[in-house]
């Protein structure tokens, strides 16, 4: 089974979306959006861990996640960090961190390759989800996104995640955070040359 959706060749091939468009759309649905480099990413993560008073963090391993140094930050802050586990770990976690395949500017969504069950738990169960995206992977619109699907999606599971989980089922009053995260943080990370 494939493990990623993105292929570096897409960078040159599909139409790029602008960060501003993404940010406007994503913030309109209460996502927290950053554009940063690896160094600053560490500080932002630290801030968020502190602010959320995190005790347990679950993460899905990837190079980008590793490069942000979550391992060390968690250790320094005395936070339990799980790179694997089951439902139990997912259920107690305060924060989930994972890398997304790309972002979709048209809707302000991040796109997750969701085949591994642990990855889905990381983005779906905790109260806060931090979604890391490489900064050169903003796709313009559905058409461009579906070109990628055409080329790389044979089978599996993909999620479009657009802001935190929400409901308006009681009196049409918008309420954030039902079954999924109540906070979605999207961090575009520029990697050093």
């Amino acid at each position: 089974m494939q493990t990623v959706l993105w292929d570096e060749k897409f960078s040159g091939k599909v139409e790029k979306g602008s960060f501003e468009d993404f940010k406007r759309r994503a913030e309109a649905v209460s996502a927290e959006v950053y554009f940063t480099n690896l160094n600053d990413a560490k500080n932002i993560l630290q801030e968020i861990f502190k602010r959320e008073n995190a005790k347990n963090i679950i993460a899905f391993k990837s190079d980008l996640v590793d490069n942000t140094g979550v391992d060390k930050i968690s250790k320094d802050m005395n936070i339990n960090l799980f790179f694997e586990g089951g439902k139990k770990e997912a259920n107690i976690a305060d924060i989930g961190i994972s890398e997304m395949e790309c972002a979709l500017a048209e809707t302000g969504s991040v796109i997750e390759w969701s085949y591994p069950v642990w990855k889905r738990l990381v983005s779906a169960m905790p109260n806060v989800h931090i979604a890391l995206v490489r900064s050169n992977r903003i796709v313009k619109d559905y058409e461009s996104m579906f070109e990628i699907f055409k080329e790389k999606f044979e089978s599996g599971h993909i999620s479009f995640i657009t802001g935190p989980s929400r409901t308006a089922d009681i009196e049409r009053v918008l309420t954030i955070g039902v079954h999924g995260p109540s906070k979605l943080v999207v961090m575009f990370v520029e990697e050093e040359e």
């Binding site: 439902k87 055409k150 599996g156 479009f160 409901t167 089922d169 009681i170 009196e171 049409r172 039902v178």
Partner: protein, 719 residues
């Protein structure tokens, strides 16, 4: 006949202030929010795309279903084709027994409502847990969904808190964030333990066996993720051919449903992914998930074969049609049957689900056309409702009274007109027995919320002869087709039409052999009587051979436009019908055109008061005429103000006010309020039936407002 049961339900719902408040607030904010969500998109183009995608699906349904199945199977999931509701239930129960399933978590699925899956689980002794907040609320309340997208919209926070308190055995504050959080905590437990997840899907792609599940709360994700088995229930209408067909649907569905650019989650599932399987000793392993896709017929295949109702495949269940439906806003979803509500619900239910009540509830539709304007799949809901009415008349036969009236009286012009003249002789003609009361349209006897016009002593057809008309300056001749209402109740509108056209230089005649246009018979499905009157009208026109036929009544225009189709089996009349259907002019737009061309000059009525305009449903939404009447009003120099809800049905809607006087009365109340709030001195309309309704309600409920047909205004402004 409307059953007492339905009437009682309607009365109940009209008294449900909580539901009415929730729905009222929502229908106020929805149109603006929707428009905002669509900013930057070509709505019409997207609708067209969706309609075409779905039309293509119906055409190739068998092929696409086979392809979908084989693509899904290729990817290692199991497909089961369920013909009936029982098939769906049997399949799932068997699966549960085989796999030792004790707890099922469900995210939203209309199909599961259709087949009443929760009831089946209960019988089987399996715990099934709705996890969508709205669905959970109605599950513990023991209700049915009242809206396709917002199932618990009929309840308020206090009621929800009460149901939660009862369910959880402790007191709950009616605080929405707290209630939502409680649901999160409660349902987490169930997600962790569940053996099976059941969900619906919004799009099923034939080309690669993919399914799109569009949700907000995140329960769909957890349903697909936590249990070891996932069952997706999907109706045939969700099929599309290609992946890219999903694009316009994804763009449209959330915007149209809840005015969102996109829902929080879209899950795209193709074949089984990983699942965690827990062992009895507490350890777990990661395995391939067991994925079952149940492709559900339950009446849908029959629907696809129907030459007319196959259009229902264009429905993507966004519920926008109910969001704008004035009847739904008053009654909510429960009166429509147990799954699908609103006009589309009446139609869908006649194939799927609560079939037996569909005949009844389709009567609730005003055929006002608001739904069609917003429908994602461009479904002409009112037209399909009319078709359904015709079919039910065909099946059951016309009720005796209309039958007698249509076939023995109205198809005979002289007799019909004599009866109308006779009716005008009685002091209180409307109380003279059931016969008169049941004549269509303006002879109905319900006077609770509005006064009815008296039938005039001298109908327009007689007054016409006494009109002093100027010598024509133009070559073209116009024939005026008045329709019954102008002829026998509002001759002064007829006079205004004739005089204003004459003033523009035309020779205007009123062919005396004209009769009822045929709309009442047509709408009741009595095509034979409709044809008879159509032929009389065509003969009447043929004698004069006018260059234009002008009507000041939008339903009459519509009916004339239907004549060719109606006459298609009669070559001679068909040709006449085609010829004249091209010469039809609707009065308000035509008079505006004449003014714009400088062929009719108006004097200024400036300072003579503040005017507002009521859009007749048929004039605006069927004929697409709404700018022209406004433009011509402004040309008279009158000050103009828009009233709120200017294009909402006044509640007249043909015989609707007779069948559902309470609903019609509510709509009349609303219209009255909007008119009063506009502070206008004059209400104008382009439709004599709307004039009737609005004059009546002003008369009954008070207000110092004049109600006029546009023609009467123009007459005042003639030089």
């Amino acid at each position: 006949m409307i059953t007492k049961e339905l009437k009682d339900k309607i009365k109940d719902k009209l008294k449900d202030n909580i539901q009415r408040k929730n729905l009222g607030t929502f229908s106020e904010v929805y149109p603006g929010a929707r428009a905002k969500a669509f900013e930057g998109y070509d709505i019409e183009d997207l609708r067209e795309q969706i309609a075409n995608i779905k039309k293509n699906v119906v055409k190739n349904l068998d092929k696409l279903a086979d392809q979908f199945q084989s693509e899904v199977e290729k990817r290692g999931a199991i497909v089961y084709r369920a013909k009936t509701d029982k098939d769906v239930i049997d399949y799932i129960m068997k699966l549960c027994r085989e796999k030792d399933v004790k707890l099922v978590v469900k995210s939203k699925s209309m199909v599961s409502e259709e087949v009443e899956l929760n009831e089946a689980f209960k019988k089987e002794g399996i715990e099934s847990q709705e996890t969508d907040l709205g669905e959970w609320i109605i599950q513990i309340a023991g209700h049915k969904p009242s809206h396709m997208v917002m199932p618990a919209i009929h309840l308020n926070r206090q009621q929800v808190a009460d149901y939660f308190s009862k369910e959880l055995g402790k007191d709950m504050e009616p605080d929405i964030p707290f209630l939502v959080h409680t649901a999160r905590v409660q349902l987490r437990e169930k997600f962790l333990k569940a053996d099976m997840g059941i969900s619906g899907a919004n799009i099923a792609v034939a080309e690669n066996g993919s399914l799109f599940i569009v949700t907000n709360e995140g329960n769909g994700r957890l349903t697909a993720t936590m249990p070891r088995i996932h069952v997706i229930l999907v109706g045939y209408e969700k099929l599309v051919e290609k992946m890219t067909d999903a694009i316009p649907i994804l763009r449209f569905l959330p915007r149209n449903a809840t005015a969102q650019v996109l829902t929080s989650y879209v899950n795209l599932i193709s074949g089984p992914s990983e699942a965690i399987v827990e062992n009895p000793d507490g350890s777990f392993s990661v395995q391939k998930k067991e994925l079952h896709i149940v492709l559900v017929d339950h009446g849908r295949l029959e629907m696809a074969k129907d030459p007319v109702f196959k259009e229902l495949y264009q429905c993507i269940r966004c519920a926008a049609c109910t969001n704008v439906c004035p009847v739904y806003a008053l009654l909510g979803g429960h009166v429509y049957g147990h799954v699908y509500s609103g006009g589309i619900g009446a139609l869908l239910n006649s194939f799927i689900g609560s079939k037996n009540t569909a005949d009844q509830i389709q009567e609730l539709c005003l055929t006002c056309g608001r739904c069609t304007e917003v429908c994602a799949g461009k479904i002409n809901i009112p037209e399909l409702i009319v078709e359904m009415r015709k079919r039910s008349v065909k099946k059951a036969g016309l009720p005796t009274l209309p039958k007698v009236v249509f076939q023995n009286i109205m198809s005979n012009r002289q007799l019909f007109h004599n009866m109308l003249r006779m009716a005008s002789l009685g002091q209180k003609p409307f109380k003279s027995g059931p016969f008169i009361r049941n004549l269509p349209m303006f002879l109905s006897g319900y006077t609770k919320d509005r006064s009815l016009p008296a039938i005039v002593d001298v109908p327009f057809r007689d007054r016409f002869k006494g009109l002093k008309l100027k010598k024509e300056t133009k070559k073209q001749k116009i024939a005026f087709f008045s329709g019954c209402l102008i002829d026998f109740a509002y001759p002064e509108i007829g006079e205004a039409v004739v005089e204003s056209l004459n003033c523009a230089g035309f020779k205007v005649n009123f062919p005396q052999d004209q009769t009822c246009c045929g709309t009442p018979m047509f709408l009741m499905g009595d095509l034979e009587s409709a044809k008879k009157v159509a032929m009389q009208n065509l003969d009447a026109m043929q004698k004069e051979n006018p260059d234009f036929i002008v009507l000041a009544c939008p339903t009459g225009v519509e009916m004339w436009e239907r004549y060719p189709e109606l006459m298609k089996d009669n070559q001679r009349y068909y040709e006449i019908a085609v010829k004249f259907s091209k010469r039809i002019k609707e009065y308000t737009s035509y008079i505006n055109e004449l003014c714009e061309k400088g062929e009719l000059k108006l004097k200024s009525l400036k300072g003579k008061g503040l005017a507002t305009y009521h859009d007749s449903c048929h004039l605006k939404r069927v004929l697409g005429i709404f700018e022209e009447p406004r433009s011509v009003i402004k040309k008279t120099g009158l000050e103009f103000v828009e009233m709120r809800h200017c294009d909402q049905c006044c509640g007249m809607a043909g015989s609707y006010s007779v069948k559902f006087p309470e609903i019609s009365g509510e709509l009349a109340d609303q219209k009255h309020k909007d008119i009063m709030e506009s502070k206008a001195d004059i209400v104008l309309a382009g439709c004599p039936a709307c004039v009737l309704q609005i004059r009546g309600l002003i008369d009954k409920k008070g207000g110092n407002v004049k109600v006029k047909h546009i023609a009467e205004l123009i007459k005042e402004a003639l030089e």
